[in-house]
Amino acid sequence: MNPFSTHGTRSFRGVIWMAAAVVVAAGGLAMASLLPEGNPLHASAFVVSLAGKYLAYAMLALSVDLVWGFAGILTLGHAAFFALGGYAMGMYLMREIGARGVYGNASLPDFMIFLSWKSLPWYWWGSDHFAWAAFLVLAVPGVLAGVFGWLAFRSRVSGVYLSIITQALTYALMLAFFQNGLGFGGNNGLTDFKDILGADLHAPMTRAVLLVVTGVLLAASLLAARFVVGSRFGNLLVAVRDAENRTRFLGYRPDQVKLLVWVFSAMIAGLGGALYVTQVGIINPGEFAPANSIESVIWVAVGGRGTLCGAVLGAILVNLGKTLFTAWLPEFWLYGLGLLFICTTLFLPQGIMGLWRHVRKPAPEEVTPEVSDTQGDET
């Protein structure tokens, strides 16, 4: 049976708390990083960039939950949108290097000179403007998702077939971005960034601000997602998820419904990718790897699908686990992740959020249908 069928009225009050917690935590950590080194509360640059990375991943997880948890689209290619957002921001950061690169060319990034290119390809035009980069961060994943989704949903591709083509999409992009000739730095990707909007990317203050910005944008994305799934449109999404055909006979077009949430989700993923790049300092084709998309689905499953909060929790906790685990037993992380996924599916089908609900309400939300007074006993 569908594990969601017992939720009934779906409220997302917890999302507001989660958004507030994210902002407070990011702000607190940012302030701690500005304390002098000797202070016991001082947070190192490593911890700050790690936290920034987790929050960026949480945005990816949130975007996966929107389509998987609420529209039933099991995406195995969402890291593609994340990586595209990352590349869009990376282009700007590359141009910010200016004449400080190895070849000292103010208008061409190093890797283009290495390829003996004489001028910027057209798709790099304008990338020295932050506003244009910020636009591309949302527009590129949005447009790609729009085209892909329009084709897939219109031809009624769904279920495992859709999962497979999302995986193929990210794989194809990975292969393309490995090509030097594509103009995105080949397998090295984009890196060696110096500053953002004139601020030194390695300065503690810049890093602190970036962490806070990431926290605020994650919180904003959570609230936007809550608005979408808490609205009548959210009900329609659930209707499409559980009984797509039925919605057609009510006059709705499920392909359009899915397309809208799919594009919105891709934009959140792109934003997450852009924030990731500013704090991790590199974007390369490895970010398109199919395994990344699959990992992001596992974060959502562990946190609790269809809850929004669960996506954020899952992304942070699993990645924290990954950081600790890989420092200890690097070769075994993938096995650990696989085991975690299997255990979640078997014992915690609603993830950590399901556990949380269980603890808060020991008697699970059992549905006792009250037979209305005028009706007798039925079947």
Binding site: N2, F4, S5, T6, H7, G8, T9, R10, V228, S231, R232, F233, N235, L236, V238, A239, R241, D242, A243, N245, R246, T247, R248, F249, L250, G251, Y252, R253, Q256, V257, L259, L260, V367, T368, P369, E370, V371, S372, D373, T374, Q375, G376, D377, E378, T379
Partner: protein, 246 residues
Amino acid sequence: MTDDLLLDVRDVSVTFDGFRAINNLSLSLRPGEMRAIVGPNGAGKTTMMDIITGKTRPDTGTVRFRDRDLTRLDEPSIARLGIGRKFQKPTVFEALSVSENLLLSLKGIRSPFAVLMARRSEREHERIAHLLQLTRLQAMADQPAGGMSHGQKQWLEIGMLMGQEPDLLLVDEPVAGMTDAETMATADLLREINRTRSVVVVEHDMDFVRALGVTVTVLHEGSVLAEGTLDEVSADPRVIEVYLGR
């Protein structure tokens, strides 16, 4: 003459993997009419509804609704023209509450952006309250639809059908799983609906069909075998043979 018809199904045939499920079927309905369709299992009753609602495309023949050819339209377009359907197996949105189910069914907003921005209006509130009362589901308004009994789901689906305010309702086996009292209440409800809308209802339950008191069409092997009052068709030797020789 044909201009007066609300629905005109003409010479329609459908073949599934060589099996003729609908065979040269013709059937028409005047505005305001209620028609009962009976026939043994596999006669093609549900398939006929699939064709009218755009789920199945006929191999040959035409289906006219007023002046529109339905065979060229898809399901949402046909639904928006004013044809509503209740499925044989009740299909409601189980994870949503009863009133949320009704809200989605209400005639009006259908484009995704408009749905995103929609807020529950006073009129919608009243419509839902009215439908809850008609379907006797007030007590369950905020319960998830998935937790209801089979009969209650049937009623909810009828409520959703009314929410759409269609001109033509196609109702497939509405009383399956209902008690006798509920069956009679459903017949009353359909007669009430028929005061303002046209209805095609498929049902096996002869007491129910009798209670409707309308023209009956007997379907057999994908075509019309007989048509008339219930007494007329039940006296028809071909009908008796089909039912007894099953």
